[in-house]
Symmetry: C2
């Protein structure tokens, strides 16, 4: 028995993992005919992270194959709000808001509660503005709205008056295609192939029909340069998420697309990649039980916090800082045991993008009332308590200071009176903060805490960037930025 | 390419992991001469969990080999306090304390903060009393003291007037040896060998000299029945613990023996075992900066909480519930930025086992004073504030109710006056709640969330039993009990 190294041992394992019996032997012998396909950089996943990785790898000269297991491209990026945290942006300047990379960094550390990998957060904060500008100038997507998201110290998210994250997916796909990236949907990563501890290929399942794990057929793809995992999180994998946090069973819905099941992450685990902080799973506090999935409610809610107020309909009282981070708000709503009611008057509702308000009124998520009393009647809120709460909130607005929960009150927040709108809120599983451990170069760490050569990851599949609580629109920077870093570094091998 | 199953694929990986090149081929061919050693059940680790697994596997008729990587047997079990949470014990009955398995279960869930795997906690709570009785009657270790530990609802820990956990290690080792268990120290688990997805052996490093990873030589051990991993936690692995929780860097010491580095856990990760909740790492709030390691302070502190009181020496004020769980107390001390001072008077110090008090006075951890004022002078505590705190605490004792932090006050808590003792406290990394995911049968879950055939785990190497916060002396039940379950089930294969 020779004194084998850990890395080499893992290498052999990868060969074993990716193919059984005779195929493994053929592979181990290095026969070229065992490969069905060859590329320079293989990217798994077609959300922001995967698309950006593909674009940058291609720009660096690599032959790039991007695979997506679902029938349509875009993953959760299709569903998200699409804003980009961008300290110092043109939108902030126009609004006279002072901000900086350092301030975003501090907000991330505060929200992350001590679990943030500071070197990763630093990369995100320092490159948030250039990432926004890259999207605006290179990809050509324009932003026309500055949004505030709970937990941020200022309004810093570049957003859209109309539309959502989907409108950034399309131009990214077009850019990738125009550069010559090959894109294959219904193609799932089954296993990663290592040789001497380095990624050299992948077993793919082509013709995959989600969720049938045995559909399609297996092929072997040679990867000459690097493999980028951008397969997303696992919010839709009830067994996996409740293994890590038993509270998050099937009784909770998810905002995510159904394919967010963590397959790529698990493939990486099987070659010895290390995952971290998998039990930090975020509930979105702004989803409504009156519509499915992510819905339109989040866009309305985040435009209204700091203007309107939220009550427990059983008591008529406010019960949490409406501008607090997602965890603070979700935990507080879940603790009451029933949906909360967010209330805002006509004078303050103008911050909601008109298309969103219209859609919410159409699908029944938003209810309109002639008065605060009518709102209370409809939701069966104790009226005296509710009117007292309204009075206190209006007094806080006048004083520009919320004595009860220190909620943020904006310069243009007006007293709530006259006609009212309401949205019922109940959290859904939204984002898995944990995932693969990476370096600032997007290299994936192995079991020996060293990078696995040839393996990169970006986006929600990674852990450590956000710690305990992710702030709204920071993941989009994370996905775009680390996708680009991963693509560049994969192509450079 | 055939449609290979995940489990089978992992099986091939294991073969690859455990041995490289020619050796792997020889193994894959099933040549008997590639084994250096054969056993029925292999147990890794010689703390409570490992010793109990070995004893039960041997009692079930298996040939048992137990390996320990360090030169001495016992692991952290040698250092711990050694109490056993035993609801309904003879000691509780003698003290007139009502308790039940259900009450322990509720305490575990409360302390675990929603992350507890309830089916595992149920097994621990329901079998805590029988486990205590097994130790008392079968192993023959007598307990002569009933102890309270922070976070428990009652005093329920069977403990010793003299000594610590080491006095249970010795009779367990003797029992194992008398039953015919083979024990090898300085023998480290390097890798686990799978065949068709089932554990069939292990690569061991014999003659290992911690921490030299290349010392000794590798041998291959065939495992005919099952492998039990009882290798403990990773509190001493600074790189690993700070990957999961970046706050726990080298600036924090650990109470653990130096070998608590998580090797066995990492070997299991390499064959696709799933770990959970690795970022929940417990600081012990009762260690003193005035002695190294675990020390004698914890025994003194836990005997004194609910009698004496703890102050921040900069303010002279109490700042936390002294009878709260470990996390509550550790977090509060760390937040002050400097060691706390625990204070108790002569009339209340009788709850400390005399040998511990004597040892503390000898090594300087405990300081004795003629008066409260002298204590304040020594520790440079603002005297007026300190005397006011003392007065408030004594009033709370008289009222049997602590209005400030709801600390538990016992029936026999006396006012603190006259001669005083103090202990300075600063937390150390003590216990890793996270680890391998197991079933109530102690089977280790693989990446596909199904048990890996032939692989069992018990004790601190596992996650999910304790959730966010482990209660004092519950891990000892956990180790003894799941060790026994793992040993029995490994032998039954």
């Amino acid at each position: 028995m020779t004194n084998i190294s850990r890395r080499r041992a893992i290498g052999m394992a990868g060969a074993g993992l990716a193919a059984a019996g005779a195929v493994q032997t053929a592979f181990a012998a290095g026969k070229a005919e065992t490969w069905d396909l060859t590329c320079g950089v293989l990217v798994v996943g077609s959300g922001y992270a995967g698309l950006c990785a593909a674009i940058e790898a291609r720009n660096a000269g690599a032959e790039v194959l991007l695979v997506e297991k679902m029938a349509i491209l875009g993953g959760n990026s299709l569903l998200c709000g699409g804003g980009i945290a961008a300290p110092g942006s043109d939108l902030q300047k126009a609004a006279g808001i002072k901000d900086s990379a350092d301030q975003l960094y501090r907000d991330m550390l505060k929200s992350g509660g001590g679990l943030v990998h500071e070197e990763l957060a630093r990369v995100v904060a320092d490159n948030a503005l250039p990432t926004y500008e890259w999207v605006r100038d290179y990809i050509g997507v324009k932003f026309d709205r500055l949004a505030f998201h709970g937990g941020h110290s200022v309004a810093r998210s570049a957003a859209y008056m109309k539309g959502n994250g989907a409108q950034l997916v399309k131009p990214l796909v077009e850019k990738a295609k125009s550069l010559g990236v090959t894109i294959r949907s219904r193609t799932r990563l089954e296993d990663i192939i290592l040789e001497n501890g380095r990624v050299v290929g992948a077993v793919l399942r082509e013709g995959f029909k989600f969720p049938d794990e045995k559909s399609g057929r297996l092929i072997r793809c040679r990867v000459k340069k690097g493999l980028v995992l951008a397969g997303g999180g696992f919010s839709q994998n009830v067994a996996l998420r409740s293994l890590h946090d038993p509270r998050l069973g099937a009784q909770l819905e998810s905002t995510n697309q159904p394919g967010a099941t963590g397959d790529a992450l698990m493939a990486a685990q099987r070659i010895g990649a290390v995952d971290i902080q998998m039990d930090w799973i975020q509930l979105g506090p702004w989803t409504s039980p009156d519509e499915p999935g992510f819905g339109v409610a989040p866009k309305i809610v985040e435009a209204v916090v700091g203007y309107g107020f939220m009550v427990d309909p059983e008591t008529g009282l406010r019960f949490v800082n409406e501008t607090g981070n997602r965890k603070v708000r979700s935990d507080a709503i879940v603790k009451t045991g029933h949906p909360a009611v967010l209330c805002v008057s006509q004078d303050n509702v103008g911050h909601v993008p008109p298309f969103a308000l219209e859609k919410g009124l159409q699908n029944g998520v938003v209810k309109a009332f002639d008065s605060a009393e009518a709102l209370a009647d409809f939701h069966k809120i104790p009226k005296d308590a509710f009117m007292k709460t309204l009075g206190e909130w209006n007094a806080a607005i006048e004083a520009k200071k919320d004595p009860k929960f220190s909620a943020k009150i904006f310069d243009d927040t007006k007293k709530n009176a006259g006609k009212f709108y309401s949205v019922r809120l109940w959290p859904r599983v939204h984002y898995t903060m944990g995932g693969l451990a990476i370096t600032p170069k997007a290299e994936v760490l192995g079991n020996d805490l060293k990078p696995i050569p040839g393996l990169f990851a970006a986006g929600e599949i990674c852990g450590g960037v956000h710690g305990m609580v992710r702030l709204g629109t920071v993941s989009i920077v994370d996905c775009l930025l680390f996708g680009r870093i991963a693509g560049r570094n994969a192509a450079a091998l």
